[in-house]
């Protein structure tokens, strides 16, 4: 079984984010990029499926700073093939254009299953999964937190609010938007990643036909003003506890 996992790097929200002079892009000076959390889960789910069914896993991403480390880490976890796409990504290509261009290449890879994160924190024109599915003519189910391969269909657990799960069956080939893997993404020793750097190659492919058609026109980016701000209690634990007891009494909780 052939599984493909498109992944991407997104801004790390641990850092402070700021907007550049143009007002329409993030300031890259202090920007740290990390793997999209949901894509990390998609990689984990694909490795779990590989362990269960012996599938072949290909992980691919666009060639931006930090992509090598991302791909080698996936290989250290068990991915069999790594591909990075070369292209002009500086202007921040939107997901539609990316999906259109990628679909051509993915077609030739003959995937049975494509797993990708259900969304990413910097998506502005929807997430890439459903777009890829449409361009490839495959069905798509998102918010998936469990995948079981049953011959030429997959049974997936789709998350609904309130902890409700919808068990859906999807014919292969299909695209799934992963919300959570069946277990948290595993840790992989850095020495293993470094070993991968010596033993495995990253295939490169050119991504042609990238356009910005249909992308949202961003007029400006700005940081939200807090509509309100909490009344801050003491930093000292004992004092803060006293204040909270007083609040509880006032609210009638105590």
């Amino acid at each position: 079984m052939n599984i493909i996992v498109p992944v991407k790097l997104v801004p790390d929200l641990v850092e402070e984010l700021s907007i550049d002079a143009s007002g329409t892009n993030l300031d890259t000076a202090w920007l740290r990029l990390i793997i999209n959390e949901f894509d990390d889960h998609a990689i984990e789910q694909s490795i779990l499926l590989k362990e269960r069914t012996g599938a072949h896993v290909t992980v691919l991403s666009t060639n931006v700073e930090g992509v090598d480390d991302l791909l080698f880490t996936a290989a250290a976890k068990g991915a069999d093939r790594l591909i990075k796409f070369n292209g002009d990504f500086d202007s921040g290509v939107n997901n539609h254009a990316l999906a259109r261009a990628m679909a051509n290449i993915l077609k030739d890879l003959n995937p049975d299953l494509i797993l990708t994160g259900v969304q990413a924190n910097n998506d502005l024109d929807g997430s890439i999964g459903p777009l890829l599915a449409e361009y490839l003519g495959m069905p798509y189910v998102g918010y998936v937190s469990g995948v079981n391969v049953l011959g030429n269909i997959v049974s997936v657990r789709k998350e609904y609010p309130g902890g409700l799960i919808g068990e859906m069956e999807v014919t292969l080939p299909a695209v799934l938007g992963i919300q959570a893997a069946e277990q948290p993404p595993r840790y992989v020793a850095i020495s293993k990643v470094r070993q991968m750097m010596k033993t495995i190659n990253i295939d490169e492919q050119d991504l042609t036909g990238l356009d910005t058609l249909g992308g949202p026109i961003v007029k400006r980016l700005f940081q939200p003003e807090a509509s309100g701000r909490a009344m801050m209690l003491s930093e000292n634990a004992e004092e803060a506890a006293r204040q909270m007891v007083a609040i509880f009494k006032e609210l009638g909780t105590l």
């Binding site: 929200l13 402070e16 907007i19 993030l26 999906a99 259900v118 969304q119 924190n121 998506d123 502005l124 024109d125 929807g126 997430s127 459903p130 777009l131 599915a133 449409e134 069905p139 798509y140 998102g142 918010y143 998350e159 609904y160 609010p161 309130g162 902890g163 409700l164 799960i165 919808g166 068990e167 859906m168 999807v170 014919t171 938007g177 249909g214 949202p216 026109i217 961003v218 007029k219 700005f222 940081q223 939200p224 807090a226 509509s227 909490a230 009344m231 801050m232 209690l233 003491s234 930093e235 803060a240 506890a241 006293r242 204040q243 909270m244 007891v245 609040i247 609210l251 909780t253 105590l254």
Partner: protein
């Protein structure tokens, strides 16, 4: 061009979700700028009654057995037909497990622009989206041609999208829905814990800041002293430290307690959207920049490992 704004109504097992009302309120706002009407699209089976309190000028209702429950493929097929026929100015979808599954395919199939994660409508039909975990807002033009929009809650109260008068319902014909590649086999109920947190008046919530499973006992002890119930944000439940019946958030329960004590929770949008109905939110987080402080009424940066036991002690002594 047709100035009308369409809203895809989301419903689950006989109940319309709050996001539908939020979208109706936003659509109303947008319709003012475009000069059009607001039409709600309701897909279901024997579900006309759900149209009852929708604040819309008209409801387009499609009935089919397959539509009794959500099916991405079925929704895509029918919506594509509706959009092709009516060519509305914009169509709203929820930024949810239902809306997100349907909208992408439609956008790619029809070549229609899509703006996601929209939180509010600005002046001149601007769309204001929330990205990067809510840290950055993006203001976009309303695209030309039918614009597809996914909406997140937060800026419009659901009440604004509800109406006492029922809107007129028109039935629309449904083509055959055979050969679907996606089918719903069954629903799996969440593990019913001993408690239904959505009904609890006092919730003690733990987040990633609790660091490990053992430390949850600090929250349990506090909950016991104060008469509350422990619940959690996604990272805690993902690790298996608390059952999913205690999950508060987009994929878990939406809660409306009198008091919500958020311990070690940063305030990511997926969590926040489920607690905005709380009367009073009190947040404990050592990071003064944590977004939770923007919606909490009271907050402190004291270390939870000092504060929670101290609070438990003081409440205990208070009683005695």
């Amino acid at each position: 061009m047709n100035p009308d704004i369409f809203v895809t109504i989301e419903h689950l097992r006989g109940k319309v979700s709050d996001i539908s009302y939020v979208m109706l309120a936003a659509a109303r706002e947008l319709a003012k700028s475009t000069g059009g009407k607001v039409l709600a699209i309701l897909l279901g089976h024997d579900a006309q009654n759900l149209a009852g309190n929708l604040y819309a000028d008209q409801v387009l209702y499609a009935d089919h057995a397959t539509l009794a429950d959500f099916n991405p493929e079925a929704y895509q097929k029918i919506l594509v037909g509706i959009i092709n026929e009516y060519k509305p100015r914009a169509v709203f979808f929820g930024h949810t497990t239902i809306g997100m599954d349907a909208v992408g395919g439609i956008s790619a199939q029809l070549g229609l622009p899509l703006v996601s994660s929209v939180r509010s409508i600005g002046a001149d039909s601007k769309l204001i989206s929330q990205i990067c975990g809510g840290k950055i807002m993006a203001e976009c033009e309303l695209p030309e041609s039918t614009a597809l929009i996914t909406m997140v809650p937060g800026d419009y109260k659901p009440e604004l999208g509800q109406s006492i008068q029922s809107p007129p319902v028109s039935s629309i014909p449904v083509q055959a829905l055979d050969g679907l590649r996606i089918t719903l086999k069954q629903y799996i109920e969440p593990e019913t814990g001993d408690v239904d947190i959505s009904k609890e008046p006092l919730l003690i919530a733990v987040g990633r800041g609790i660091q490990n499973q053992d430390n949850i006992s600090l929250a349990e002890e506090l909950a016991q002293e104060i008469g509350g119930v422990v619940c959690a944000s996604r990272p805690v439940v993902d690790q298996g430290w608390l059952p999913s019946s205690r999950l508060v958030g987009k994929s878990g329960s939406t809660v409306k307690p009198k008091v919500y004590l958020a311990i070690g929770i940063s305030g990511a949008p997926e969590h926040v959207e489920a607690i905005t109905g709380s009367d009073v939110i009190i947040a404990i987080n050592t990071d003064p920049a944590a977004p939770i402080f923007n919606i909490a009424k009271y907050g402190t940066t004291a270390d939870l490992f000092d504060l929670v036991p101290a609070l438990t002690d003081q409440i205990r002594n208070n009683k005695g």
